[in-house]
Symmetry: C2
Subunit: 153 residues, 2 copies
DNA sequence: CTGGAACTGTTCAATATAGAACTGTTCTAA
DNA sequence: TTAGAACAGTTCTATATTGAACAGTTCCAG
């Protein structure tokens, strides 16, 4: 029991700092936190169905919808109906959005730069262990979260 | 660069599940997320100055104040001025609050129970490595967050 | 075909959150 | 002392978030 509390605490400590940094990063770039999440979710796949963005970010539908709306108004992402399935909407990052993302990466004191330092300060094996541990935990949590997801519909 | 993004991603995956679980736990027990945070912060030291709770939880003063207000109305914590320093307010968990915390710990499918399973599924050394890695990261983030904290005043 | 169930996303109203201005307290330097 | 700076918390208000009701699509059993 004690160990689990300790581990939870350990995550919590990382968490709260991470969130603070993310919030700061978001505000500095004129984004809400949900908007920031969306961009980070799409940084790899520059094109995604809105539904999938929702699954990755865990944002409620309404929040997602409004956040996307703002991003579209800002010209950061494009929104167009998928032909072949008019229910779905394809989101894609514009050049402007792409530039913004690159900017965010390089911001001094931003999450990414800080994590860059963290990684450099870490041994190869330590890094691997960390990833492995997290993966294991995520798998556990995901099966649990699934059940929550079920009732959210 | 790639590694830091990967690590960030790894944390993010744990994070979002953790938050979902915490939210669920909070709602199920009739608490807001800030209220839940406060209780978790006070689970060890059953008596704390409100200021300190704020430092630990990172909650904005106004949010903290209101959340505490609700908890007091529910009879979960007590609030009384510190004699010797009438600016400060001492928060203490009532018996009712204590029972609630114990309840939360034991809730099936709650964060604590899930983490219990996680820990059992983990080798001693893996556990230690994880804690060590997190500590290292927290230290890094904390020095960074400090600067943010400075301007929040 | 067709009617209803399941999807995908939007809108709107109610709630939650947090910055800014405030009250009262303590500390400190002249 | 005593003004004024720093503190600890509260209140008020504007903003952000989200659940619930909704509109249009797609799917499928009969």
């Amino acid at each position: 029991m004690l160990k689990s509390i300790q581990l939870l605490h350990s995550f919590w400590n990382v968490q709260k700092n991470l969130i603070k940094l993310a919030q700061k990063s978001a505000v500095e770039n004129g984004l809400s936190v949900p908007q920031y999440s969306i961009l980070m979710a799409m940084k790899l796949d520059k094109e995604m169905i809105q539904k999938n963005v929702g699954e990755v970010t865990f944002l409620p539908k309404s929040t997602l919808s409004q956040a996307v709306d703002g991003l579209v108004r800002e010209g950061i992402i494009n929104r167009q109906q998928v032909e072949g399935n008019r229910r779905e909407i394809m989101l894609s990052i514009t050049e402007k959005g792409d530039a913004l993302i690159k900017d965010i990466y390089l911001q001094e004191g931003g999450i990414h730069q800080v994590f860059q330092s963290v990684v450099e300060d870490m041994s190869e094996s330590q890094y691997d262990e960390l990833l492995r541990g997290h993966l294991q935990i995520t798998t556990f949590l995901e099966t649990e979260a699934q059940e929550i997801g079920e009732c959210m519909k």
